[in-house]
C-alpha cells in the first residue's frame, strides 16, 4: 500500500499529505535564513526587478510619470451571463488603481506592473468582476496581487475564500486593504491574505505587524502623495494606500529572494516589521 503513495513533495500524481521516511531530501529548502533576518538581508540592494505585481483595481494609467511602464493590462467585461477578462490598452477612469501602482513603483522601481481593471463602466457594484479578475490573476501566477478594494456581499464569500486559498497555495500572495468599518467585508479578512491597515507615520518603509488580527500589518496610509487620473497628483488618506506599500516592500523582497513562497514572504514581512525583534 505504502509503496503506491507518492513521496512527499516528490511531484507525484496525488497530493502528498504525509511525508515518508527518508524523503525529507525531496523537500529540502536550500539557502537558510540568517539568525537575525534584517532589512538589509531581506531586500538590501533590490529594486524589485523580476517580481511581477498585479494591481486589481480601477485600471492603471501607464502615461503617468509616477507609474512608468505597465507590462500588461486587462479588464473584466460582462459577457452574457458571465464576466470575461479581455486585454485592453491600459487606462484608469478613476485614478485609484494608478495611485496603488504608483506607490508600488515608488518602492520597487524595477518590478513589472500589470493591471486588471474590475471597476468602472459596466461593473458598478457587482462584485462579480472582482471575483473574475482575481481568479484570472491567480491563474496567471503573478507573485503579488494588490487589492485595495473589498466586497461586502455574502454570496461571494465562499468563492472568494476558495480563491484566497488557491492563491496562497499556488505561489501568489494577495495583499489586501483592510476595512475600517465594523462591517464584514472580504477578502482582507481571510488568513491566507496579507491584510493592511494604515498608520500615521510619513516614512513609506515603516510598517508594523499587528498581533491582533484580522488586520495583520499597518503601513503608511495617511497624507500620501499619489498619482491620480489625468496625470494629476493628489494627497490621499485610506487603507487603499497602505496595502500597496506592503506590496511594494514584498516586491523588493521577492526581487532579491524570488524563491519565497507566500508563507515565507509573509514571515519575512513579520521579521522585518518595525515593532518586531531587533528593530523594535
Amino acid at each position: 500500500m505504502a509503496s503506491e503513495t507518492p513521496p512527499g513533495g516528490g511531484g507525484g500524481l496525488l497530493p502528498a499529505s504525509s511525508l515518508r521516511r527518508g524523503l525529507a531530501e525531496d523537500i529540502a529548502m536550500r539557502g537558510g535564513w540568517p539568525d537575525t533576518v534584517d532589512r538589509e538581508w531581506a531586500w538590501g540592494g533590490s529594486t524589485g526587478r523580476g517580481a511581477r505585481v498585479c494591481v486589481i483595481d480601477s485600471g492603471v494609467d501607464p502615461g503617468h510619470p509616477a507609474v512608468g511602464a505597465v507590462s500588461g493590462a486587462w479588464a473584466a467585461e460582462p459577457s452574457g451571463e458571465s464576466i470575461a477578462i479581455v486585454e485592453e490598452a491600459a487606462q484608469d477612469p478613476v485614478g485609484h488603481g494608478t495611485a496603488a501602482a504608483g506607490i508600488v513603483r515608488s518602492l520597487a522601481p524595477e518590478c513589472d506592473l500589470y493591471s486588471v481593471r474590475v471597476l468602472g463602466e459596466g461593473n458598478i457594484g457587482t462584485g462579480r468582476a472582482l471575483l473574475a479578475g482575481l481568479e484570472w490573476a491567480i491563474e496567471q501566477g503573478f507573485e503579488l496581487v494588490n487589492m485595495s478594494l473589498a466586497t461586502t456581499r455574502r454570496e461571494f464569500v465562499a468563492e472568494l475564500h476558495r480563491l484566497a486559498d488557491a492563491a496562497y497555495f499556488n505561489g501568489t500572495l494577495l495583499v489586501c486593504s483592510a476595512h475600517n468599518m465594523i462591517m464584514e467585508s472580504y477578502p482582507w479578512r481571510f488568513a491566507a491574505v496579507v491584510s493592511v491597515g494604515s498608520h500615521e507615520e510619513p516614512d513609506p518603509f515603516t510598517f508594523f505587524y499587528n498581533p491582533q488580527p484580522p488586520v495583520e500589518f499597518y503601513a503608511r496610509g495617511v497624507d500620501v502623495e499619489v498619482p491620480w487620473a489625468d496625470k494629476s497628483v493628489i494627497t490621499a488618506t485610506g487603507n487603499s494606500f497602505a496595502a500597496p506599500h506592503i506590496t511594494g516592500i514584498a516586491a523588493l523582497i521577492l526581487g532579491k529572494h524570488p524563491e519565497l513562497t507566500p508563507f515565507q514572504l509573509k514571515s519575512m514581512l513579520y521579521m522585518t516589521a518595525a515593532n518586531v525583534g531587533a528593530a523594535a
Binding site: 457594484g125 478594494l149 489625468d230
Partner: protein, 214 residues
C-alpha cells in the same frame, strides 16, 4: 403584491411624507458636518441600474445638488461606492475629473473630502461625504474611523428611505387592489386619536375576525 410588500406599503403610509424622510437624512448630514467641523456634507444613493449616484441630502455648500445625478463609474464618491473602501483626499481640485464632473456644476470646488460607504444588508447602497475643513487641513485615521461608525446610522436611514419610497410606489400603483388598505392605514393613522378613528379601528378589527374565522 406580496405580503411583505403590503406590510411595507402600509408602513410607508403610516411613516408619512417624503419630506419627513428627507429631514431624517438632512439631520444626519448636518451632524456629520458638525462632527468633523466641515463646510459641507452629503449623502448620495447608488442607483445600480443607471450606474449613477443621486444626491439625497446635502448640508452646507452645494444644496442645489439635491436630486442631481453623477456617473458612478468615476470620481471619488463613485470609487467608494464601487470598492467599499473609505477614502480621504486633500486638494480635490488637483483631480481634474472631479473638478470637471461634479464641482463645476455647482460652482463649488471643495479642497478636501472624506467619503465612506453606506452599507445595508451587505450591499453598498450609497456614500456619505464630508467636505472641506477651514480649521484643520487633513482628515486623520481616527476621524475616518469615527465617520465610518457614524455611517452605520446613515446607512440604516438611507435604507429606510429607499424602502419606504419603493413601498410608496407599490402603494400608488393604479391596479393594486390592496392599495386601498394602505390608503386606509394612512387615514387611520391620522385620525387615530379621534373618536370616529377609534370606532373605525374597532370596526376593522371586527372585519378581520370575520375573515379569519371563515
Amino acid at each position: 403584491m406580496s405580503g411583505d410588500e403590503l406590510r411595507a406599503a402600509v408602513a410607508a403610509a403610516a411613516l408619512g411624507s417624503e419630506e419627513l424622510r428627507r429631514s431624517l437624512l438632512s439631520a444626519i448630514v448636518e451632524v456629520a458636518r458638525a462632527i468633523l467641523g466641515a463646510r459641507a456634507s452629503s449623502i448620495v444613493l447608488l442607483d445600480e441600474a443607471a450606474g449613477e449616484l443621486v444626491f439625497e441630502a446635502v448640508a452646507g455648500e452645494g444644496e442645489s445638488l439635491l436630486g442631481t445625478r453623477i456617473p458612478a463609474a468615476r470620481g471619488i464618491a463613485g470609487w467608494v461606492a464601487q470598492s467599499g473602501e473609505a477614502l480621504a483626499v486633500e486638494d480635490v481640485s488637483a483631480d481634474p475629473r472631479f473638478a470637471r464632473d461634479v464641482a463645476e456644476q455647482t460652482g463649488y470646488v471643495p479642497k478636501g473630502l472624506i467619503a465612506v460607504p453606506l452599507i445595508a444588508q451587505d450591499h453598498v447602497i450609497g456614500v456619505l461625504s464630508v467636505l472641506d475643513r477651514p480649521e484643520q487641513a487633513s482628515f486623520s485615521v481616527a476621524e475616518s474611523d469615527l465617520l465610518s461608525l457614524f455611517a452605520i446610522q446613515a446607512a440604516a436611514a438611507l435604507a429606510l428611505v429607499t424602502r419606504t419610497r419603493r413601498a410608496q410606489r407599490v402603494l400608488e400603483g393604479e391596479d393594486e387592489p390592496l392599495s386601498a388598505v394602505a390608503r386606509l392605514a394612512t387615514t387611520l393613522d391620522r385620525r387615530a386619536g379621534e373618536e370616529n378613528g377609534q370606532t373605525a379601528i374597532a370596526l376593522l378589527e371586527a372585519i378581520e375576525r370575520v375573515l379569519r374565522d371563515r
